[in-house]
């Protein structure tokens, strides 16, 4: 059983505004919920229909799931998590590899970059407040479960990068050849927005920019694709 008010609350989580007010977010879909559970991700509540064979805290009927779901064709499970805002520790960016997203607005790109950061074992991902909302279902789904494994911090990048001892490296259409960054152990790599590139606040704090050598006619690469190539180069030859 589920109350009318609870159904309304679940539905309301489709909006960022309500997610932030309530401090909660929703994830639907058998595959992604199973992946997050397998990664040990904590959920507050897991609503499942009779057809959902995974862990659940509340069994609900299909008509109720249809009313709770954010999608026209609901799945058999809807999990609710509590938003935990991580904060940077002092000097944290000086150590290890950080991927910083500067206004990346496409949720598919943000999720894909969490997956990339996870694959390459980066230490953390920073997201500027202008990025797609980390707790939107599109981001979480595109991350393919990496949402549960990657340390993420939403923060204004200008202030966060101030005084960082590790080099802050921008990804841009002009700069040093990315093939020269192999094996750097401590760095912050910044990826700009799909349309506008890096913000002025970030550009002022760059040690340098790197670029991916181009051979053909395309004007740019997708932001997530560029991030992946930079990560592969960073990890090259590193131990």
């Amino acid at each position: 059983m589920i109350t009318r008010a609870e159904l309304q609350l679940l539905r309301s989580l489709r909006d960022k505004k309500h997610r932030e007010e309530l401090g909660l977010y929703a994830v639907e879909g058998e595959k992604i919920v199973a992946e997050l559970l397998a990664a040990g991700h904590p959920f507050e509540k897991i609503y499942g229909t009779g057809a959902w064979t995974g862990r659940k805290t509340h069994e609900i009927g299909e008509p109720e799931m249809e009313r709770a779901s954010h999608f026209p064709t609901p799945s058999t499970v809807l999990a609710v998590g509590r938003i935990r805002r991580e904060a940077l520790e002092p000097g944290e960016l000086d150590r290890g590899l950080t991927l910083a997203l500067d206004g990346v607005q496409d949720p598919g790109n943000v999720g894909t970059m969490l997956r990339i950061a996870d694959w390459f074992g980066l230490d953390r991902v920073l997201l500027s407040p202008e990025c797609a909302d980390l707790h939107s279902q599109k981001v979480i789904r595109a991350s393919m479960g990496s949402f549960a494994r990657v340390r993420t911090i939403v923060t204004a990048l200008g202030a966060a990068l101030e005084g960082t001892r590790a080099p802050v490296i921008g990804c841009a259409l002009e700069g040093r050849d990315v093939h020269g960054i192999a094996g750097i152990a401590d760095a912050v790599i910044v990826i700009g927005s799909e349309g506008g590139g890096l913000s002025e606040d970030v550009r002022r704090r760059l040690a340098y920019s790197v670029t991916i050598p181009r051979r053909g006619g395309a004007e740019s690469l997708n932001a997530a694709v560029a991030a992946a190539i930079v990560c592969d180069n960073l990890r090259r030859g590193a131990r």
Copy 2:
């Protein structure tokens, strides 16, 4: 002016079946049509409303555009192109770099891989018939204009790869370190489907597979992301 029959024809181009029967495809959107025109792409007809300032062959009203469009919110331009099926020349795969897509079904991934092939100046892209349709609007849009610049051939990969003298290299979760392929000038790189990997027909014809070294917890990388990393490695140190 535009006839009722013409409107119906334009609308019908949203379906692959009709595109193939008629040998035509449609592209909508100011940005993508402008990019394709800038790349010299030939269109049969370009329908534009009064607000479309680019080249057009037919001026139509907004209500007509609304009826012709494949989208709920139409743009100011709809261009129609003729489908040209390219065929492989004998021995063509022996020379240069080929990206072969083996059942890549997500149109965003197919379009992004055309953009990647264009950026890295590959010689051609092969698509197995199971791939997302090259002439769908999603593929063309995701290619960001690279659709006009990249030589594409739709063909059964098993037969196409038979007897190829250039090494056929699969991209897989296990294989040689991708960092070892720098500077190879002639090769066919095969990317498998998002869910199923490489088909049996392709696997039988592989010289070897390469893999992208993993450091963290993600189970896989997105297909387009993997393709980009392989291309960057191939182009590394090449002249």
